[in-house]
């Protein structure tokens, strides 16, 4: 670990003031950042601890839910409104990491956690994300856990978060702030695809702090779920995951649907194509399959991860079947 200074911010203004400095990084629970600092993959000069900020979960009059960026993952998953109104989110969080890590991890940190690509973690390897222009050792190496959608010749890594997949499906909005002011951004737009610049992972401006996420009122999200497929029963990142919210009308048609995939791309992948293929169509297995096909039409396998295409197809269908059965 490279030496750094540490400051604890009491409010957002102090945090963003400190966070604007070159080489500064915000510190949440540290479960990802500190690991990367130990590996010297991250070498911030200054850590601005933001775990003291906005630890509130507030239900607003319009039915939306505001979750402070410093709220711990466990607290989000346990919150009654989350469990009852957005079960997909509670399930996604609880499927991630371990109890201990979720107790430490914050919402802001979870959103901005970095890829688990083994070559990114090992500074003996070539990695465009770590050293722009160096090359990518994953493309011809171990890439069983890598992307099938939206990858580029520069980078084939995935975003590892479970929580973000649920947030993407729910249409969450991220609240941001820096010394220049505050703004909001849909979560699905926050993360970038790698294209030619995998080192730029988000649309965040310098020093921008996540202050909260906002879940829109989505009454039909009570019928939502998350399914994570992984290499062991617990404590493993998703190979493929599916977050889904389904609104089925009485006549068996899909009135509305939200679908997002994890473990398949450089960002939490909102399955817009599948959603479009489903809206107004029968909630049947055949339509679910066609929707999955539509979403995966451009999926491209690497050496080790071709199975993910079939796995994603099957998991999407199974999850939609399950929700359709529930609402029947």
């Amino acid at each position: 670990m490279t030496p750094f200074s540490y400051a604890r911010a009491g409010d957002a203004a102090t945090a963003t003031g400190l966070g604007m400095a070159e080489g500064a990084k915000y510190l949440g629970g540290g479960t990802n950042l500190v690991d990367l600092m130990r590996e010297t993959i991250e070498r911030p000069d200054r850590l601005v601890d933001v775990t003291g900020l906005s630890r509130m979960i507030a239900e607003r009059d319009d039915g939306s839910l505001m979750i402070g960026a410093a709220v711990r993952n466990t607290a989000v998953a346990e919150h009654q409104a989350v469990r009852e109104r957005y079960p997909v989110l509670a399930r996604a969080i609880l499927s991630g990491a371990s109890g201990q890590i979720r107790n430490m991890a914050t919402v802001g940190g979870n959103i901005l956690q970095r890829t688990r690509c083994a070559y990114f973690y090992d500074d003996a390897a070539r990695c465009n994300k770590r050293v722009p222009g160096a090359g990518c050792d994953a493309i011809d190496g171990f890439n069983r856990t890598h992307a099938i959608l939206g990858a580029s010749p520069a980078c084939v890594a995935t975003h590892p978060s479970d929580m973000c997949v649920a947030l993407a499906a729910l249409g969450a909005v991220v609240h941001l702030e820096n010394t220049a002011g505050a703004r909001t951004l849909p979560l699905v737009d926050l993360h970038r695809l790698p294209m030619g610049r995998p080192e730029v992972e988000t649309l965040l401006e310098p020093g921008e702090l996540i202050t909260a996420i906002e879940l829109p009122p989505l009454p039909w999200a009570v019928r939502s779920t998350y399914r994570k497929v992984r290499d062991r029963a617990s404590y493993a990142f998703a190979l493929v995951s599916v977050a889904a919210v389904l609104d089925r009308s009485g006549d068996g048609m899909v009135r509305d649907v939200r679908l997002a995939l994890g473990g398949v791309a450089h960002k939490p992948w909102r399955a817009f194509a599948a959603e479009a293929a489903l809206r107004g169509r029968p909630a049947s297995e055949a339509c679910f399959r066609a929707a999955a096909e539509a979403e995966l039409a451009d999926a491209a396998p690497l050496r080790d991860n071709g199975f993910k295409i079939e796995l994603a197809r099957r998991t999407i269908v199974a999850v939609l079947n399950e929700l359709a059965g529930e609402t029947a």
Partner: protein, 770 residues
């Protein structure tokens, strides 16, 4: 290798005359076999309370005044030379005390390779940091000592190094083209051929000919490797190590540093899991060298990454099993051949062909092991090396044969049960495999299995059952001595430099010594984990319990005559000889005259002695020369395979073991279960990702190297036949390793029964089942 075989042979011959009658082939069994006392009862671990309270000190916790902390820098190429090495920035970090590289490391002899001498403990014979040559990706190239661990770790990241790369052998597939037979496989021939197995196979009515792959595994004991070391002013060396080879480590270090063994003391009272990995690797040697250079005590505690890079694990193999059978299931041919990756500097060919040498009857055999040389960290022993993955291949093939013949796999094994060891021709000392099968089948409900694959389904889950044989040899290591001290208070202290790695060694030895001496267990202590004590044998090959018991028995046999010499004419024991008496009720008594008894306390106080000691070496393990001595088991598994995602979850598991007399059901159950859990990792999740382009291990962390977590492990039922082996001390066999054997095949066979898919390539990950 030949040297060790010859030496062992000579030792055996001279030892024949010294062995006690009852262990000589045909001799009488250990009298304790039939006795019910402390042995056989569920005594809780005596080290438990200290561990729970945090009072048990592990190697990385031993305090030392003025101590510095070590960090290692690992090479990032597999083969070549260091071209430039810049440590200026490292030296400049506050708190840094020493930067050691090949340039300033003291001259050290290469470690003596394990098995090159009975006392050697080196995991590899490569010299340690003696020049600029790189031998594997991850080899330590610098040691940084600093006042704090954080300073050392940071300074280590500032070492700047460039390399001149040389072509390295890092692809197993490529290296197999030059695979060759090793001189021996742990002292056994690399090849055994009986009859013409290929011809018999070709003519057989039923044939199975399959290739199986098993990956690398890394050790993941809860305690990463560590040592705290210092040099005394008089030049003596003290090493607090986490080791399963105390005396071997001392002898080997003496050779490396040019010391006499008496100048070195190794202590290792607690080891947080060994499994074959806690032997002599680079880190201890480097810490000792750096301590000498700096004049300060040094603590080296490997990071998890360090464990993956510096200490090896189970190697990868490609195995062929071919079976030729007649219509009745009996085998005309059994072929088990294959290749394991190894280095040119170690000797661990992963004895995967051993199970096939002893398990089943066949008319002809072809059993052959080869190795392919790679540039990688030396592979090593890992819980049932060979047998764990050898049974995966063999027991999968047996299942394939049974399935192809429409036979129940247990029934097939009944038909090929041998009457004597199929390759050596020796009589079995004790073999109750079919009994273990019968009991296991009954308790597991095997008869409910539908032999047709894919026949049982609950929702998305396909359910299947599988079974496989477990087997592991009985070993007792030569050498080793125990000392028994009896006090006037009627207490006994037993001492031997042996190892407690969490198995319950100390507990079981207290039980055994209590019965041997006729004392309650509360009156017996067992001292271990220190080379200042009489020499122990290695904690490996599941041999330690029997090895210690044999030495304690030998010491007790010296103690009894010494005690009788002390009794005066007034003693009820007056005039009796050792053969007339037995130890009982805290003293000695005539075997058939109850009134002729005197307590130890009385004997010693009458003789005006505070205590009396006897020390003796264990006799040579001649029992294995005459008998085929093995443990067995039947592993039963029920899996659920998700038809949508291919995820495999174990829903039930039962191990039914035939492993001699069980000395302590509580510690035994834990060993069996722990072995099975490790076997589930081998079956489903564990794989060290070795990048064939660079020879680099790409998942050196427990986030990415998947051992089973709680949710992966169902309730595991373990039962045992508890049948004593009349030719083993205490009637017992080692039980540390048998549990992992057969598990891989039991799972794979269950997966086949659930899905109709044969997975011959471990681990059974979901992508292979989609």
């Amino acid at each position: 290798m030949t040297t060790i075989r010859d030496a062992a042979q000579k030792l055996m011959q001279t030892a024949i005359g010294l062995a006690p009658e009852r262990w000589l082939p045909g001799g009488t069994p250990d009298p304790l076999i039939g006795r019910h006392g402390a042995i056989g009862s569920s005594v809780p671990r005596i080290d438990g309370p200290r561990k729970v309270k945090g009072e048990a000190r592990f190697a990385a916790e031993v305090p030392a005044g003025n101590m510095v902390y070590a960090a290692l820098v690992y090479s990032t190429i597999a083969r070549g030379r260091i071209a430039t090495l810049d440590t200026d920035a490292t030296q400049a970090v506050p708190g840094v005390v020493l930067v050691m590289t090949y340039r300033n490391a003291p001259r050290m002899a290469p470690p003596a390779l394990f098995m090159s001498d009975p006392r050697a403990a080196g995991a590899s014979s490569l010299p340690v940091m003696q020049d600029d040559t790189i031998h594997w990706n991850g080899e330590p190239i610098a040691v940084i000592l600093a006042e704090t661990q954080e300073q050392a770790d940071h300074a280590a990241t500032l070492v700047r190094v460039t390399y001149t790369k040389e072509t390295a052998s890092t692809s197993f597939d490529a290296a197999t083209a030059q695979a060759h037979r090793p001189d021996s496989v742990l002292g056994e021939p690399a090849v055994i051929e009986i009859g013409n197995a290929e011809a018999a196979l070709a003519e057989a009515a039923h044939q199975i000919d399959r290739t199986y792959h098993t990956p690398r595994h890394s050790h993941a004991a809860i305690e990463p490797h560590a040592a705290t070391v210092w040099w005394e002013a008089d030049g003596r060396l003290v090493v607090h190590d986490a080791t399963q080879m105390l005396n071997g480590t001392r002898w080997t270090l003496a050779g490396i540093f040019g010391l006499k063994e008496e100048q070195i003391r190794i202590l290792s009272p607690f080891v947080g899991g060994g499994f074959g990995g806690k032997t002599l690797w680079n880190h201890q040697i480097l810490a000792i060298a750096a301590s000498r250079l700096s004049g300060r005590p040094v603590r080296v505690s490997l990071s998890r990454e360090g464990v993956f890079r510096v200490s090896g694990g189970r190697t990868t193999t490609r195995q062929r099993v071919a079976l030729g059978a007649r219509a009745d299931g009996t085998l005309s041919a059994l072929i088990h051949t294959g290749i394991a990756a190894m280095t040119a500097y170690n000797n661990c060919p992963e004895q995967f062909s051993f199970p096939a040498r002893h398990l089943y009857a066949a008319d002809s055999f072809k059993l052959e092991q080869k190795v392919a040389d790679l540039d990688m960290v030396a592979n090593t022993f890992m819980r049932a090396p060979g047998e764990s993955i050898g049974t995966f291949a063999l027991e999968s093939a047996i299942d394939e044969l049974a399935d192809s013949m429409g036979l129940d796999p247990i029934e097939l094994r009944r038909r090929i049960e041998p009457v004597k060891d199929p390759t050596s021709g020796h009589a079995f000392s004790a073999r109750h495999l079919l009994d273990a099968y019968a009991r296991g089948a009954e308790r597991f409900g095997w008869s409910a299995r539908n032999p047709t694959p894919r026949a049982r389904r609950e929702g998305e889950w396909l359910i299947g059952m599988g079974v496989a044989t477990a087997t592991y040899p009985y070993y007792r290591m030569p050498g080793g001595a125990a000392r028994i001290t009896l006090t006037r208070e009627g207490q006994a202290r037993v001492a031997m430099a042996s190892h407690e790695m969490g198995m319950g060694t100390a507990t079981v030895q207290v039980q055994a010594a209590a019965d041997r001496l006729g004392l309650p267990i509360a009156h017996v202590t067992f001292a271990y984990g220190d080379t200042a004590l009489p020499p122990g044998t290695i904690a490996g090959g599941s041999s330690q319990t029997a090895s210690i018991a044999a030495a304690v028995t030998a010491a007790s046999e010296k103690l009894v005559p010494a005690l009788l010499k002390l009794v005066g004419n007034d003693s009820p024991l007056a005039g009796l000889r050792a053969g007339d008496v037995e130890a009982r009720d805290g003293g000695l008594g005539h075997r058939s005259l109850p009134e002729r008894f005197e307590s130890y306390a009385s004997i010693l106080s009458r003789a005006n002695r505070d205590e009396i000691s006897a020390e003796a070496e264990a006799p040579m393990p001649l029992e294995v020369q005459k008998y085929a001595m093995h443990s067995y088991g039947a592993q039963f598994c029920e899996v659920r395979v998700n038809a949508v995602t291919g995820e495999t979850r174990i829903s039930r598991f039962l191990g039914s073991f035939d492993a001699g007399r069980v000395l302590n059901p509580r510690t035994a159950a834990s060993q069996f279960r722990g072995g099975i859990i490790m076997g589930l990792g081998l079956a489903l999740t564990e794989e060290t990702l070795f990048d064939a382009r660079t020879g680099r291990i790409m998942n050196p962390s427990l986030a990415d190297y998947h051992v089973p977590v709680h949710l992966d492990v169902p309730q595991i039922d373990v039962i045992w036949t508890d049948s004593p082996d009349p030719h083993a001390p205490l009637g017992a066999h080692g039980i540390g390793e048998i549990g992992i054997t057969g598990v891989g095949a039991a799972v794979a066979n269950a997966v086949y029964n659930a899905t109709g898919r044969r997975i011959r390539d471990l681990p059974i990950t979901l992508d292979k089942l989609l």
